[in-house]
Assembly symmetry: C2
Homo-oligomer: 410 residues x 2
């Protein structure tokens, strides 16, 4: 008789954004004429950069002719894209990577979800709180989270609260942990770590033999000099960190699916007998066994953003979204609401009025202003009392949403 | 200190096809002028069907305009493709599926590799032998395979030999197992199960509470009436089987990446306390957490093969490859070699001459005939003494390869 992985049964049945979609749908049905602006989910609204469109058309045409057809590609991604990534994203920051250290995939969600495959169940995992739900849920599935308590915390995870009280800078764990997930610029708070703050984490990881899972999916939105784009800007990180990147937000690839993961040759973890194993060949074996490469067409689309014209087009998109973020920060201030983020990240994180919970404020904002947000509590217990707004909407929608918030609260 | 999943360290370092590629590369370097024909890896050579090319061009154009842009899609796949699959692949065979039972993905390799996520480590897994390596390797990673013995068998797996002695029809397990992987039409042997033979498996699974993982990636190549295309043609299979399908070989999508998995609502597995859980919501949760949907462009390309013109184009491709298979069967016969498969599958499985091992015959065939094959032993211990040839090559190459084999052996 087949036995299920019972860890799955501990998970709440649905995903945060599915809950929100259901609530919004119910509201729309009850208020059919209402004009609703969606600043909830972090999905882009601008079309793909024209360079990617053109590259994908060419790639589709290649697939129509047996002389240029591409069948199975390398599970790790095509050399043309890996080279473009290394030269475009890392060399300009003084970081050298070998092609075998970069693994192209169908997205950072897959990679951050699957990376646990190569780790033992017997690891203590730390997460910042609030946090991108995939890190928590995938570790629940992997049997590392223990039990869900009434306070919304999993007994086996170490939570690192990030709130206004500590300026959203997580303290180092006060107990022994083995793996830490860090996402900077942060989803959902939109806040960052400075180079010095990230160095503390790398030094801590090296001193305590901790593995850092560094998610820098939002690095393209960084505008301030002292915010590192890659953890490998910090000395020693090649020995203790895996980095995840995505084309989703940078280049609008949420529907096209492409990301990559860097596993330096020096990153190792322990065996039970105290010896060490390099993680790069393990991740390679995982990808070769359970993945068959990203679409050739997608990879050609991703490569195109590294051309000079591609960079210019991506920059325009990012500037557009960051103008939204600026308008939102200013609008919230004018409405008397305290907010963070939106300077180096496409998310603005705001404090709900005293005594109003995340879900309550979410519903008020939907009802009074017709604006869909994401309740901070959905990202973890320390997100209670906060709301996330996404800057990925259309400019006119963002401005109109702020005008409505001012009218409602100002 | 982070701990690795030590199961990974038990796996041989590289994948079968990587070994072969290395051997062929070494041979080419030693024999630079030699004309080599590749009938090893099962990758297609015809370009994509024109309907898919046109659909993908349209989809790329949609991504260029914010009014028709597609961002995040459903993790389970778009409704348009799921409906086309149900109406095109199942309804004509009298099988009703609900949209929520079909999960579109980036390929059957990902799904057959990841399905173990929802199962406990404490399952005894049976595999036919020889077998597609992903089933074995992913269960090694999941901790279900035990130790690799000197005979090439994993101590924790139950092997079901399929050789000429039993006409490649696996006997039911002679000990208690919980999960069985069946791939029919079979990779690598190209053989099939009749409706009656598959019914025995379904009846056995229902009687013994066994979960069947049914991989029907090659169903489009079936030419004989008594060979089932889907396990759900067999009564009761909805209660005990998960089915995997692929667009890779059917429609040449090896480089575009699309497949799907059917998890009927009735399929359940046990908890330790003896109660049962449905697997459909577990797989849904897995995909929602660790996957973000297949590329929109890819899904439009896949949808197109279900149009009347698409079906005609796919049929032409399959006929082309199956004409290769027929030529190969006839050529091998003329060369005095016993062979199976190639009637309902794009693989021909041949017996090496008495006393010649798989790898030895692979090397002889490369050296004497300039033909790349896949050694049967690479698919498992019972593959020793056999060789797989793929019918996915160009017609002229297949014919020339057979002429060379006749000259060498005939």
């Amino acid at each position: 008789m087949a036995l299920v992985n019972e860890q799955f049964l501990k998970l709440p049945g649905s995903y945060l954004f599915a809950d929100i979609a259901r609530k919004v749908a119910a509201y729309r049905e009850a208020h059919p004429g209402r004009d609703i602006i969606r600043l909830g989910i972090g999905d882009v609204t601008l079309p793909l950069p024209q360079v990617s469109i053109e590259a994908m058309h060419r790639a589709v045409d290649e697939m129509a002719d047996s002389r240029t057809f591409h069948g199975y590609g390398p599970e790790q991604g095509y050399g043309f894209l890996i080279e473009a990534i290394i030269r475009g994203d890392y060399e300009p920051r003084g970081i050298s990577l070998k092609p075998g250290e970069v693994f192209v995939s169908d997205g950072a969600k897959s990679d951050t979800g699957n990376i646990g495959d190569i780790l033992s169940r017997d690891n203590v995992v730390a997460v910042t709180d609030p946090v991108y739900p995939v890190y928590v849920d995938s570790n629940v599935m992997g049997g590392r989270a223990g039990e869900l308590g009434g306070d919304g915390r999993w007994s086996g995870l170490c939570y690192l609260p990030c709130t206004a009280d500590n300026a959203f800078v997580p303290a180092l764990p006060d107990r022994k942990v083995d793996v830490v997930y860090l996402c900077y610029p942060n989803n959902p708070t939109g806040t960052t770590l400075t180079r010095g703050q990230l160095k503390q984490w790398v030094d801590y990881a090296l001193a305590n033999d901790v593995l850092i899972m560094f998610d820098s999916a939002y690095e393209a939105f960084i505008s301030e000099d002292d915010v590192p784009h890659s953890i490998y800007e910090i000395e020693g990180a090649r020995r203790c960190a895996i980095e995840f990147r995505s084309f989703s937000k940078t280049a609008g690839f949420t529907g096209v699916r492409c990301g990559y993961t860097v596993v330096p040759e020096e990153v190792t973890a322990r065996l039970a007998d105290g010896t060490r194993a390099a993680l790069n060949p393990l991740w390679n074996r995982r990808q070769c066994t359970k993945f068959n490469g990203a679409s050739y067409i997608t990879q050609r689309g991703a490569e195109a953003i590294y051309t000079p014209e591609g960079r210019r087009q991506v920059r325009e998109h990012i500037d557009y979204y960051m103008a939204n973020a600026r308008a939102m920060r200013e609008g919230l201030k004018a409405a008397g609401i305290e907010a963070w983020g939106g300077v180096n990240a496409p998310y603005v994180w705001l404090k709900t009025p005293a005594g109003v919970g995340s879900w309550q404020f979410f519903e008020q904002m939907l009802d009074r202003a017709g604006v869909v947000s994401t309740p901070g509590a959905g990202f973890g217990p320390s997100g209670e009392g906060y709301i996330r707004l996404s800057a990925f909407g259309k400019q006119e929608d963002c401005r109109e949403a702020m005008a409505r918030l001012r009218r409602w609260l100002g």
